[in-house]
Subunit: 124 residues, 4 copies
């Protein structure tokens, strides 16, 4: 149950708005500096890694077929998205546009016709 | 410049679709196991931390006023979003919903009226 | 209480030896690939960050005066050292020498007389 | 080449001493709060992960046979050790003892005779 009268957010912008209100309601904005949020983001990514660290790559591909593991991974991914969205919002960065701009750069560096299947530094 | 005939994605779903095509065009799906993508995500978060590690919290709040730093942080956040979106897509997880579900849980654990401004374990 | 007849290790080499025996006793060597160990290392660093993420830099300087926090941070640092030592051992890398060699490189890049107190990219 | 009149450190204590002098010579102690050092540590672990992220587990086992990769991984492990040692030193924590104490705890939780080869949460 989330704070009364909230509807579920459908977009990153709505999620950011909800996280902003969530922080304001608890007077947590003071803690939400970009520095602190970057640490929190990294902490959550660490928890996500911990769920996958002993799996083989093949087991990781099938992880959603294990309901317990699937739920934990989904929750950790949710946590990562929460802090990433909050950090971007605090900095005034549009997440999808930042990703798209970066992808455009990567596409230029790794043209499809020259990097197909190559084991070289593959990104992203 | 990104692959021809792409329009800029406006939503996480469109970004995910674009990343899927990007990987297929380069035959990189084979490398995009959840395990590998989690590592790549963590690697990018590490680069983001590196931009902020020596800043004071106050400097981090003002970081967008430094054009060079702002550009680098925006690019790193873009990279983090790329791998987070790609990982969620590979697993069939809706990022915004996973975040919203997690937020609902956190809201229950930290009701606004009892945690206001508290320095206790603050989340998120 | 650790496995019988162990004495406490005094050096990194003795710690590495103890971790090797620990893994062998449990038949965990199969899981201790460099890839998996790097993920486990990152997971533990994430837990360490989580202990510090909401502290001000000043609070972090005093953290050892809070017995509960001090114990948790020490335990997390112990975990990080465990996986770092294990990973280096599996790869045949001498931790102290690898650090010293890297430090020599950094010393050349940042000579003391030209970087004193500078806020530029400070390493390490 | 490191600062004149240094001999190579042989132990963690000597490495810590050398890092202390290194920071003092550059007046970097002011930046070396536990919070900042934890971020720097995580940043270096991110660079280490980046070297391993696209390798199969089997490729990661053989990585030291590739001289270029071996050198990069060794350098990243050196960086991780530098910040871990510096952070422990700033906090007054003995790295080897902290690891040993943690290992003793883990040994109790995962007795050898009951966890042999098991795929359960394996630590460490």
């Amino acid at each position: 149950m989330r704070d009364s009268d909230d509807r579920s957010p459908q977009t990153v912008a709505e999620l950011a708005e909800q996280l902003r209100r969530f922080a304001e309601d608890r007077e947590w904005q003071q803690f939400h500096t970009p520095k602190n949020l970057a640490m929190a983001l990294a902490g959550e990514v660490g928890e996500l890694l911990a769920e996958l660290q002993w799996l083989t790559p093949e087991e990781s591909v099938r992880l959603m077929t294990d309901p317990g593991l699937a739920g934990r991974v989904r929750a950790e991914i949710g946590d990562v998205m929460i802090y990433l969205t909050r950090m971007a919002d605090v900095l005034g960065i549009d997440l999808v546009r930042a990703a798209d701009d970066k992808l455009a750069e990567v596409a230029q560096r790794y043209p499809a016709d020259r990097t197909r299947g190559s084991a070289a530094k593959r990104r992203p």
